[in-house]
């Protein structure tokens, strides 16, 4: 096992993001009451703590649901609005299991947004793109060797999400940024199907 593989094998702080489709026009502030309602009803995974409104910011999280394990956020990095689930607390299992669990949590939350009454079905996510990033520069420095070590695990997840899809991976090029990979497929399933595949 390479050093990079050993390092990434211990990675816990994984964040995954799905993107809103082109037709969705969403004011992130509309999600604030939805997140509060999620806390009241324990609608999504985790120990849900509070909602932070960062909608005044032009980059990073816009509205955030803080949990003990990490956070959910309507996120706008790269000018692309989407839903991110960032895991911070340690989880049991192999990296592949942790990645799978994070994806399941994210897709479940995404589905809940798509079907939320107060958002009137305005929210639709693309199933053909998934961004994965590591909030840990020690275990996952943004270098080629990390990509090579991470690729097999990530591809396993992608083959679960889109078994027949042809996924291409693009790594963030700036070495000072977090290690991140954007996976894009030639098709893309709806979130309900992804949810079923990740179950």
């Amino acid at each position: 096992m390479t050093d990079a593989a050993a390092r990434i094998g211990t990675l816990q702080r994984i964040a995954l993001k799905i993107f809103l489709d082109e037709e969705t026009v969403l004011d992130p502030r509309d999600v604030i009451p939805v997140f509060h309602r999620w806390i009241q009803t324990s609608a999504v995974d985790g120990l849900l703590i509070d909602v932070a409104d960062y909608s005044h910011m032009t980059s990073g999280p816009s509205v955030l649901l803080a949990t003990h394990e990490g956070y959910y956020a309507i996120e706008q990095s790269g000018g692309r609005l989407g839903l991110q689930y960032a895991r911070r607390a340690d989880q049991e299992g192999e990296l592949a299991d942790r990645l799978h669990a994070a994806a399941r949590t994210l897709v479940k939350a995404g589905r809940l947004l798509e079907t939320n009454d107060t958002l009137d079905g305005r929210v639709r996510f693309r199933g053909d793109q998934l961004e994965c990033l590591a909030n840990d520069r020690l275990r996952a420095p943004n270098r080629g060797e990390t990509m090579e070590a991470f690729r097999p695990t990530f591809e396993r997840l992608l083959s679960t999400m889109g078994p027949d899809d042809d996924w291409s991976l693009t790594q963030e090029i700036d070495e000072r940024e977090r290690f991140s990979v954007l996976a894009t497929s030639d098709s893309g399933a709806a979130l309900d199907l992804l949810e079923a595949r990740l179950r």
Binding site: H36, H56, M57, S59, P61
Partner: protein
């Protein structure tokens, strides 16, 4: 695998050792070998602060719910759950940052926090939602770039602040940066600064006229001055002590009109020793140095400090740094060059108009990065570090207005810098205008927040940014500052329009409000504090801003400042302008008034039943509270009319009336006799702790007791003014107590504790 191993020798030995010790203390606490209070102060002294809901419960809008953190009973301080997220404060002396430090801060925000860096009103940086277990590694990464979080919180010397224009300002007497830096190094961890009853804040300013270092609100503030002695120009400081905002604001007192530069550090040391020796230790509410100065009087305080100074053993550090002062200062990255042709872009012109300051060095300017609510993402901070490397090197500072400035920008580079800032979402104009609002964290993350300061500030900013182009210049240049409670972290006292969060009770519900303070002075180092006009429902504050600014624009005399305008038309008129906005509409008619900004939850403790009998008594109480409010207002007017004795009596009367109102919830036949009111209040509400709130405990009740025991009314303006502030706080506490009582399902019994879901 750890950062400790990876960074190795890049962590300075002394900082590394300190962090190792701190990490050991964490381990010992986990083993139950350190007392809760001791550990709390230990982590506070390393900047690891508590955050809202860290007691493990939260009102989710349907009631108070437990947050079942997996901490297994483990705590990191009294009533503070181990696994609950906390805030990490990072001290940035005089706001000075290097590009490498910005990179690290950006990385830390992403890896340990929520991806957001927050600039505070004292030039610090705060990260929220940080787990205590992550703090040692976080601190090591900071140490590797020369930042310590030591003494960022706790009863210590906090961040030493200074004007962000020091060294490049056109009006300064001299650059105060080396003195701020030397003070910071000298006082950090100094044995004489380890035994304070409360925090101690130091600031330096280059001039008297501008806001600069806000000397007037600091425990120790030095304004740069010079004098000529035998044909030589000597440097020194006009030194003020005992200033402070918070619950009971004090304007600083002149300690020395000319303290020579050689005497700055020994005097700071001597003051620290006097503060440690004589400052209050048990009663936190009166432990800041301002109370000691008020209690001793400035002359006696000065005498004690001089005596202490004379007895100090000489320390070479007092003056060792002075030889280097002339050579210190930033070097520009590029040769200065004027801007020959400005781009014909409206956005660029607007930005230059508000965000660019011409340095006294020809060909250079300071560019301000306006940060909405002091926030920027980790990615933006890293990109900004890149721009700094390209345009100015390490000439970067945070500001007390929660912005960042790049100094030594070559004027000719402005168009390119603006384009680059725009590409990372940081070219927002409006720095230092009415739309550049300062706000403390408030209910978003602060445990003491009453109302949403950031929610209000964001809403005001949205509205004012839209109106900027049509606003008259006089209104455009006003300052707005918002705090979530009376503690004044948003510095609401020293702004034209200041607001701090309070709550009011109406028809069985709690309504978020803001106290409106008008006529504070931002300039002249925070030269004067605004006084409260009255509490207005939070949702009416945008209309308060609209009315007050319109009236100012319409009736302002030529060149009149808002401070002068507010003084001229008087608080009575100002209150009249806002009077109808103080009313709380019915809940059916305006349910939004019962929720805070950006928060769909019912404000406060929800809809617990209110008994009819209590309701009846409560309305009598409210009557008395309203009477008390107007007495406080009258007291302010009396003070304006230079009648401190009357002001004192009115403020005292207000406290008595409020106390009487509360007594009526249990004893309707209470007389008007002050001694009986105080006795009944003490027995029924103080001794039983019913009046106590969770954080301030009985602090506000003591204001009444102290005044009652005083032999006669005050004759001095300062004393009367303080009593007015105290009466205001006593009133707020009475409102809060009344709200708690009304929310109880049955009439309170003696000794019953306040509801855990109370709003304060």
């Amino acid at each position: 695998m750890s950062w400790k191993d990876t960074l190795g020798a890049r962590i300075p030995d002394d900082l590394g050792r300190e962090i190792d010790t701190y990490e050991n203390q964490i381990a010992l606490k986990r083993q139950g070998k350190i007392d809760d209070k001791v550990f709390a102060e230990t982590r506070l002294r390393r900047g690891a602060y508590g955050q809202r809901y860290d007691n493990g419960q939260r009102n989710d809008g349907t009631g108070v719910k437990l947050l079942p953190f997996p901490s297994d009973g483990q705590t990191k301080g009294p009533d503070t759950v181990w696994d609950a997220p906390g805030m990490q404060r990072i001290k940035i002396p005089f706001g000075g940052l290097t590009a490498d430090q910005m990179d690290t801060l950006a990385n830390l925000s992403e890896e340990y926090s929520d991806g957001v860096c927050h600039i505070t009103t004292r030039q610090d940086i705060q990260l929220h939602f940080v787990h205590i277990d992550d703090t040692p590694e976080l601190m090591r990464r900071l140490a590797a770039v020369g930042i310590t979080t030591r003494e960022a919180c706790g009863n210590t010397v906090r961040n030493v602040t200074a004007c962000p224009l020091s060294g490049v300002c056109r009006d300064e007497t001299f650059d105060v940066t080396p003195y701020a830096e030397a003070s910071m190094h000298f006082l950090l961890g100094h044995p004489d600064t380890q035994d304070f009853g409360r925090k101690f804040k130091v600031a330096f300013s280059g001039c008297r006229e501008h806001a600069c270092g806000l000397v007037n609100m600091h425990d120790f503030g030095g304004i740069a001055v010079t004098r000529e002695v035998n044909g030589t120009i000597e440097r020194g400081f006009e030194v003020y002590v005992g200033g402070g905002l918070g619950a009971v604001p004090h304007e600083a007192k002149l300690f020395d009109p000319f303290l020579t530069e050689e005497e700055v550090l020994p005097t700071l040391q001597a003051i620290s020793r006097v503060f440690a020796r004589l400052g209050e230790k048990r009663n936190r509410a009166r432990a800041r140095i301002k109370f000691l100065v008020a209690q001793l009087g400035i002359d006696e305080f000065r005498r004690l400090v001089k005596e202490e100074r004379d007895a100090l053993a000489p320390d070479e550090r007092w003056s060792a740094y002075l030889d280097d002062v002339p050579a210190q200062g930033e070097r520009p990255l590029h040769a200065g060059a004027p801007l020959e042709t400005a781009p014909n872009s409206g956005a660029f012109q607007t930005w230059v108009g508000t965000n660019v300051y011409r340095q006294r060095q020809a060909g250079y300017v300071v560019a301000t990065i306006t940060l909405s609510l002091g926030d920027l993402s980790g990615w933006q901070l890293r990109r900004l570090a890149d721009l700094a490397r390209r345009f100015v090197g390490d000439a970067i500072r945070t500001t007390v207005e929660q912005n960042i400035v790049l100094r030594w920008v070559r004027e000719a580079d402005l168009p390119e810098l603006h384009r680059e800032l725009d590409s990372i979402g940081l070219a927002q104009p409006g720095a230092g205008t009415v739309a550049d609002i300062t706000a403390c964290p408030g209910t978003d993350t602060c445990k003491l927040g009453i109302a949403s300061s950031r929610g209000l500030a964001a809403e005001l900013e949205r509205q004012l940014v839209d109106q900027m182009s049509s606003l008259d210049e006089s209104a455009r240049n006003l300052r707005i500052k918002v705090s979530g409670c009376f503690n004044s972290c948003g510095q609401h006292h020293i702004s034209d329009l200041g607001f701090y969060g309070v709550s009011r009770h109406a028809s069985g519900h709690v309504v978020p409000h803001f106290q409106v303070l008008l006529g504070g002075k931002w300039v002249e180092n925070g030269g004067s504090y605004g006084l409260a006009i009255g509490a207005v429902p939070s949702k009416n504050i945008p209309e308060v801003v609209r009315r007050v600014t319109s009236r100012f624009v319409e009736e302002r005399l030529e060149n009149e400042t808002f401070y002068d305008f507010a003084s001229r038309i008087g608080k009575r008129t100002l209150k009249e302008i806002l009077k109808d906005l103080m009313a709380i509409p019915g809940r059916e008619e305006r349910p939004d008034f019962f929720r805070d900004w950006g928060d769909p939850r019912e404000f406060g403790i929800g809809d617990m039943g209110v008994g009819e009998c209590a309701g009846e008594v409560v309305s009598l109480t409210e009557f008395d509270l309203a009477g008390a409010e107007s007495q406080v207002f009258e007291a302010q007017l009396a003070l304006e009319e230079n009648d401190p004795t009357r002001a004192d009596q009115l403020a005292y009367g207000a406290m008595l009336q409020a106390a009487k109102g509360l007594i009526k919830t249990e004893f309707i036949d209470i007389s008007d006799e002050p001694t009986q009111i105080v006795m009944e209040f003490r027995t029924r509400f103080y001794d039983t702790e019913v009046f106590f709130d969770k954080y301030a405990r009985g602090k506000f009740a003591n204001y009444l007791f102290r005044r009652h025991e005083q032999p006669g009314p005050a004759t001095e303006r300062d004393t009367a003014r303080r009593l007015i502030e105290e009466a205001q706080l006593f009133l707020e506490a009475t409102h809060a107590c009344q709200a708690r009582l009304a929310s109880m399902p049955s009439p309170p019994k003696a000794g019953s504790a306040p509801s855990p879901g109370g709003v304060q």
